[in-house]
């Protein structure tokens, strides 16, 4: 377990400060989980509702550690050749044709020429193993959308960080990548993958953290407006109102909304303004329709 001398990963506070510098406001639990994932060299499984900042964490972390971000977007039916490597068949066929013109090449020599490293197309998982110093941050996004065979393969990969390509031999990672897996919980992951990883459930941020995030991302909005935005969104996610909506807005939506309100030169949030800009917060027709005038009044009423 080598530790980089200039690494910001010396303590949880240092990590939180470094992430904050990159514009990602993590709470202490998340920072502890990331810290442990880095120091124990285990992958970290992040679960949570969409729009809560899972992918953003990977981007911030790669900036903090000065490592390249390699992203693998999973989908149903994804195979090894899309995730790990593939041979460049077209180039190999051309090579075979060219080799025809040369006489006297034995079959063994031909096979060896065919399977050289230059005909190997590297996909994200292999790129992560062979990334140059200081290594890579590997983001395996939406791993719940991939299916069970892919999970079994992933388990093997995450266990050893080495792959064996039959024609080329075993490729080991000199610098094991920092791996983050995200899941939207559309499907329950297999227990073996969960056991391999550390786990963290990302919840929507509380009002203070949301305030800090919006202030950092949209500094043009005044303090008063940002507070109103944070209050509104926090109430929207709280119990009596959250049931009325199918998908409550995440952090990305509240930041976009702040930018929109700044563009509209708004100083105070009133029901009409919310109604006009509802499409930024809610992406479904039923949710926009559920924003009735009575509900808006309740949401905007000053809290006790």
């Amino acid at each position: 377990m080598k530790k980089n001398e200039k690494s910001p990963v010396e303590s949880i506070d240092a990590l939180m400060a470094a992430l904050r510098e990159q514009g990602y406001f993590a709470d202490r639990r998340l920072a502890t989980a990331v810290f442990l994932a880095l120091r124990l060299q285990r992958p970290l499984l992040l679960e949570g509702e969409p729009g809560v900042g899972k992918t953003a964490l990977a981007q911030a972390l790669s900036a903090v550690l000065a490592r390249e971000l390699i992203r693998l977007q999973c989908y149903d039916g994804m195979e090894q050749r899309e995730a790990l490597y593939e041979w460049n068949y077209a180039a190999q066929l051309l090579h075979l044709r060219a080799a025809e013109l040369r006489s006297g090449t034995g079959v063994e020599a031909l096979e060896q020429e065919l399977y050289q490293a230059r005909y190997l197309v590297r996909r994200p998982l292999l790129q992560a193993l062979q990334a140059p110093a200081p290594g890579a941050v590997l983001l395996i996004d939406e791993v719940d959308r991939a299916d069970e065979p892919f999970e079994a393969f992933l388990l093997e990969y995450l266990g050893e960080y080495q792959v064996s390509i039959p024609e080329l031999g075993v490729i080991r990672a000199q610098l094991p990548p920092v791996t983050l897996l995200t899941s939207n919980r559309t499907r329950d992951l297999h227990d073996a993958v969960r056991r391999r990883c550390l786990y963290h459930w990302l919840d929507y941020p509380e009002r203070e953290r949301e305030l800090a995030i919006v202030q950092a991302k949209v500094p043009e909005a005044g303090k008063a407006l940002t507070e109103q935005i944070a209050n509104f969104v926090a109430r929207l996610r709280s119990r009596p109102f959250a049931d009325a909506f199918e998908r409550t807005p995440g952090i990305a939506e509240s930041v976009e909304w702040a930018k929109a309100l700044v563009a509209l030169d708004a100083l105070v949030i009133d029901p009409e303004l919310v109604h006009e800009t509802a499409g930024i917060l809610f992406k479904q027709r039923e949710d926009v329709a559920a924003l009735t005038p009575e509900r808006l009044q309740q949401l905007l009423a000053p809290q006790a």
């Binding site: 502890t32 989980a33 285990r42 559309t186 056991r195």
Partner: protein
């Protein structure tokens, strides 16, 4: 560790003296295991390593242990409760766990508390009953006309012994499930896509000529299905038989790779997946009895579907799910809610099938409000009131799926 942190640790650990950390951690791990959170020795060792890294502030220890020992969101609440209880007062934790009947090897969650005791005793009792029932063998001397009569007899009109007999027969009905072409491929001579690696390997052996091509075709996978079972009073006799039928007909032995989910709709929605995971149908029925407490009450279909929408919409990903609504359509909930939720369900499923026991009446037409709505929004209404209709269920399903989307 410095003296300050030693003192800090001693303070919030309570009366645990320094050096007892591994033992405390081990005890906590075992408490978690008894509460149903899967924790093994490797994770505990990892937890110890992580505590060395994070230091001993209480918040950090909680976060570190959570990251290492918890791996599912359902376990989070249990973990936090147990952590608070254990590290404030170990005796409190013992009391909490003492209510959990730790004698059985399968653990249960604390939030089920006293119901777990009932469930475990019910399962044990049912296990003994099941042995007795197995002795009701099919009488080999039963005549052909008797058998025919049982095939066509409505479940409601069976006597108690006939009912038991039919329960056995129902388990033998095969239900070939519809399948879809999945995104995985397999080597097969009748495939439509060339498998380049295998073809090239063959080519290199024959001097560069592609003498033989290897083909891939897409694998067939059983369609995932979601069953919503109405457990109101009018459905009681049918529900047990249907559940036994569904459970056996779609068991993982017969259909590997099948994803099935079952929910009960009464006054509220209940999940029955854990009961369905049991292999023995008697144990499954006993567990369901224990878990559902609104068996035989009224039904509020709209509210239950709304609850499904909120909590379990993730089972409907991909528009491939076959939704089976087992109900008689007699609904006591809000009609507009039902309409909305049925529309939503129809948009997100491959086919919605209404299995209606009231089709036992010859002149039945869906006139009741809830029934009319179900009839409008589902793709087909099928009968399930006797053994013969169950046997024909498979044919109807197959035909339904081949037909296009021209119902609406």
């Amino acid at each position: 560790m410095s003296a300050a942190t030693e003192v800090q640790r001693a303070n919030w650990w309570g009366d645990a003296r320094s050096g007892k950390l591994p033992a405390n951690l081990l005890g906590f791990g075992r408490a978690l295991r008894r509460a149903g959170v899967p924790v093994d020795a490797e994770r505990l060792a990892l937890a110890q390593q992580s505590l060395v890294l994070t230091g001993m502030a209480k918040e950090d220890v909680a976060a570190a242990l959570e990251a290492v020992l918890v791996s599912r969101e359902q376990d989070l609440a249990v973990f936090r409760e147990l952590f608070a209880a254990y590290f404030r007062d170990p005796k409190l934790a013992q009391q909490l766990l003492g209510q959990l009947l730790p004698r059985s090897p399968e653990a249960a969650r604390p939030r089920h508390g006293p119901r777990v005791q009932e469930a475990l005793s019910a399962i044990r009792a049912a296990g003994q009953q099941g042995e007795a029932r197995d002795e009701t063998r099919l009488d080999a001397a039963m005549s052909a006309s008797e058998r025919r009569r049982l095939q066509h007899a409505d479940f409601e009109q069976l006597s108690a012994s006939e009912y038991r007999l039919v329960q056995q027969l129902v388990r033998d009905i095969r239900l070939p499930l519809p399948s879809y072409r999945s995104r995985r491929s397999e080597l097969h001579v009748s495939g439509t896509r060339v498998h380049w690696p295998a073809s090239l390997k063959a080519a290199a052996r024959s001097g560069g000529e592609l003498a033989q091509l290897r083909w891939l075709r897409r694998k067939q996978r059983p369609m995932p299905w979601l069953a919503l079972v109405d457990v109101s009073g009018s459905m009681e006799r049918y529900v047990r038989l249907l559940l036994a039928f569904l459970h056996q007909a779609s068991s993982p032995r017969l259909h590997p790779g099948l994803r099935r989910h079952v929910y009960s709709m009464g006054t509220s929605l209940r999940e029955l997946n854990s009961a369905f995971a049991l292999a023995d149908p008697d144990a499954m029925l006993a567990r369901i009895d224990a878990e559902i407490d609104d068996f035989g009450g009224g039904t509020r279909l709209g509210e239950c579907l709304a609850q499904l929408h909120r909590q379990a919409a993730r089972h409907l990903v991909g528009r491939r799910t076959l939704v089976l609504l087992v109900s008689d359509g007699l609904d006591t909930g809000e009609p507009q809610l039902l309409e909305r939720e049925l529309q939503w369900l129809g948009r997100h499923s491959a086919r919605m099938v209404w299995l209606n026991p009231l089709l036992r009446f010859d002149g039945y037409a869906p006139l009741a409000r809830g029934a009319a709505m179900l009839h409008r929004h589902t793709h087909a209404m099928l009968a399930v009131h006797n053994l013969e209709s169950l046997q024909q269920l498979a044919q109807h399903l197959a035909r339904l799926l081949q037909a296009g989307d021209h119902h609406r």
